[in-house]
Symmetry: none
Subunit: 162 residues, 2 copies
DNA sequence: TAAAATCCCACGAAAACCCATTGTATCCCG
DNA sequence: CGGGATACAATGGGTTTTCGTGGGATTTTA
């Protein structure tokens, strides 16, 4: 699985009173080059206190990979349950949301709580996917490199003095 | 078998006094993109205490897959019986129900009992198909990942405090 | 004729849509 | 090279549409 277009860069956007957020244009352009959907898929990140996001085409790719894995070791009794659990997490525990002509999504309340997103959303490109953080939680996480925290601080300052 | 449109997301809907339930709009949109039917097929899930649901187009696909499997290992003595059993389950043990213009089905009593569905139906997208749960049974199932139970609890809360 | 299914309409909340404003980066031309 | 015009991004607000749901009326079935 070698994706041609990768997510990169960072941005800090506001979540308004209605729960709307602009998806940064540089991330949207990757989504639309990977497929022709104007939609993102949201999931709780596996290891960090943030959300993981990607495009539907990437979700389909991941699913196909799972399917192939199952067909290989279909016989095993545990494999069946393992497959069911993965499938549930990959699809039931995610939400697909379209963005409108101005590039905004309506943040689903479930994901907003899972990611503990307040009125600021920090977007971080990570190649195949991107992440959405509550900036403060990123600053508080000891596992995050200082250089990255500097970027988060910069984005916060940018916004503070305007 | 690479399906283009996949079921994902979750929702908790009410089953009213007449036994009617709204199929969530985001699931219906997948059904209608896969084919032009406004119908779902219901079956008891193979491993969980819930129902499995999908569109007629997917049922046809599953059938074709079974056929191919049979032709491959036709020689085996067990294969024939296995095929007969699977075929029975795939067709006799299922019910096809149309949904109306407002997206509701009338829940067939047999399936409602098989799935132990009360007055709340939890819908979970799982890619090729989706599941319908009695939310309490999902919470009680030890095989279900905690993250998914959190989602079920969230859906229950959403509804409770309104 | 009673029970059940289908059709119809109605309502409130939420989501999607449209338009307007601001700020910023980009481009073009003098 | 500078400065004005331009395009686009992010955001705010109002309006329209859709969704889930309840209930009544009509038709069908047993």
């Amino acid at each position: 699985m070698a994706l041609e277009h990768l997510f990169q860069g960072s941005a800090l956007n506001a979540v308004d009173a209605k729960g709307r957020v602009s998806i940064p244009a540089f991330l949207r352009s990757v989504i639309e080059r990977r497929g022709d959907a104007r939609t993102i898929v949201l999931a709780k990140h596996e290891t960090f206190a943030c959300l993981s996001a990607y495009d539907p085409a990437y979700a389909a790719l991941k699913h196909a990979k799972l399917e192939r894995l199952l067909e290989k070791e279909e016989t095993s009794p545990d494999a069946q349950l393992d497959y069911q659990q993965r499938n549930l997490m990959a699809f039931a525990a995610t939400e697909e949301v379209p963005y409108d002509s101005s590039g905004r999504i309506l943040f689903p309340p479930l994901m907003r709580r899972k990611g503990q997103i307040g009125d600021l959303a920090l977007f971080l490109g990570t190649g195949e996917t991107f992440q959405i953080w509550n900036p403060q939680l990123l600053l508080d996480d000891k596992r995050i490199p200082d250089d990255l925290k500097d970027i988060a601080r910069f984005r916060l300052e940018e916004r503070g003095q305007s």
